[in-house]
Amino acid sequence: MAVEQLRRDVFDGSALRADFPVFDRPHRSGLPLAFLDSAASAPKPRSVIEAVADAYGHHYANVHRGIYELSEDATARFEGARRAVARFIGAPSDREIVFVRNATEAINLVAFSWGRTNVGAGDLILSTQMEHHANLVPWQQLATETGARLEYVAITDDGRLDLDDLRARLAQRPKLLAVGHVSNALGTINPIEEVSRLAHDAGALVVLDAAQSVPHMPVDVTRLGVDFLALSGHKMLGPSGIGALWGRRELLEAMPPFMTGGSMISKVTLEGTTWAEVPLKFEAGTPAIAEAAGLHAAIDYLEGIGMDAVRAHERFLFEQARDALAALPGVRLLGPESADEHAAVLSFVIDGVHPHDVATVFDHHGVAVRAGHHCAQPVMARYDLPATTRASLYVYNDLDDVERLVSAIRATQTLFGTA
């Protein structure tokens, strides 16, 4: 796509800031807030906050079990949110959507339920060197408990999945490949359609960590060809405390439950228990009811913009930021060069300044970024870095934010005498 064409798709991020109350909050720097940490968790638009408040205020009761108006209302809205999630990610059925706390729980659910049933001693599981700890440590635990082997697909110097290495490891016919769609530590967008095809040809299931993709680009589970997908509400403008696991129905149906308790049973006796149908089988206890309403509102907000427009907007901002950083001496950006392979997540290092100090100096300039290992320590080890600074962009950001980032880098270099 030419920049010309992109510019046409691009909307004015600053105009959207009016929808997000957090930008009204005075910052201690006296400057307006340049929020560049959406990859960690996103601010909430007023419509989401109000949907949650309205759910609590006027439509709240426990779901699924109440024979009275309020509970019927709450249940219908809760199931409506499930349908919205299903539609948003192209799931064939809303029965394939399991509400969980976050992407981490979604992946743990697969590791505990599918993993403990289908993986045995000597079996191979594949993860990658690029994963967030959420898509790595649960597989380490599974391997430790079952005696399975765990291997990691290598990544290239410019931060892409090494597809040759993937092919070589798939030749050993692993049971499962756990892979991220977008790396939160590098910004890399992985070619999941191709990866799934390779994995399936090798007989492996694909667990996709979509925590960083679903909020930022069109995602369709059928097109991607994966078997499980994990997402978090809070990264897509929705509430904390809610996320979703999508899984192919026949896989979910064959899996044993993970947590057990109320709502997920069919019949309990002192001798034993039978399970409810999916997705309830995986939703033990009272779920995040009002948070589901908020997630629904977040999806409505994003669909109002259009996920193609969200992606085009972020792509444009990424290219501008990438080029601006390239012009700064002593600054190095990680991850692929091409905007086709790089989401609006800029992970960089400034020579001579530790990322923690970078973030503190930035904060005093009203620029909120993340510094550290981004829950991806193996990525840091791969590039022999203690940490990086990460600026991540979303719908409410604009070119001003990119400029604020550049000036903050310059100010940091001046303070530390490295420029």
Binding site: H64, R65, S71, E72, T75, S266, E277
Partner: protein
């Protein structure tokens, strides 16, 4: 509510048709309403070709809606073929009750349908999609 508990519903509840267990029988299935645990079983006798329902009975305790639904449904089954049973639309079962069934009582109204499907197609029978049934959609 007065709409829901119309006299004929209460009559089916107090004096259900086809209640009991047929011995011998060709088909049998029991299941429960997961939201309340109420259990229902059904026994069916088929013709010699094992194709059509000759007699049917249901058993179990439950609410007025589930009992009336089973009573009304079983009244309809004699003479039907297994293929017709399999093709039965859960929305029609609910509609045949003749009273307005909301989402909270839908499983009560559908328990007899679910048990019948279990008898015909076995344990893989699934609860129909509630949203579809409420929207007047067709079978799952």
């Amino acid at each position: 509510m007065d709409n829901l508990y119309r006299d004929f519903i209460l009559e089916h509840y107090r004096e259900p048709h086809n209640k009991g267990v047929l011995e011998p029988h060709d088909l049998h299935f029991a299941d429960s309403n997961p939201t309340c645990g109420d259990e229902m079983s059904m026994t069916l006798q088929l013709d010699d070709a094992k194709q059509r329902v000759v007699d049917v009975a249901f058993d179990g305790r439950g609410c007025a809606i589930s009992q009336a639904s089973a009573s009304i449904l079983t009244d309809e089954l004699r003479g039907m073929s297994l293929d017709e049973l399999r093709a039965m639309d859960p929305g029609d079962v609910v509609e045949n009750l003749g009273v307005p069934i909301g989402p909270a009582r839908l499983k009560c109204a559908l328990l007899s349908y679910k048990v019948l499907q279990g008898a015909v197609i076995g344990a893989e029978a699934r609860w129909p999609d509630e949203a579809d049934v409420l929207a007047g959609g067709s079978a799952p």
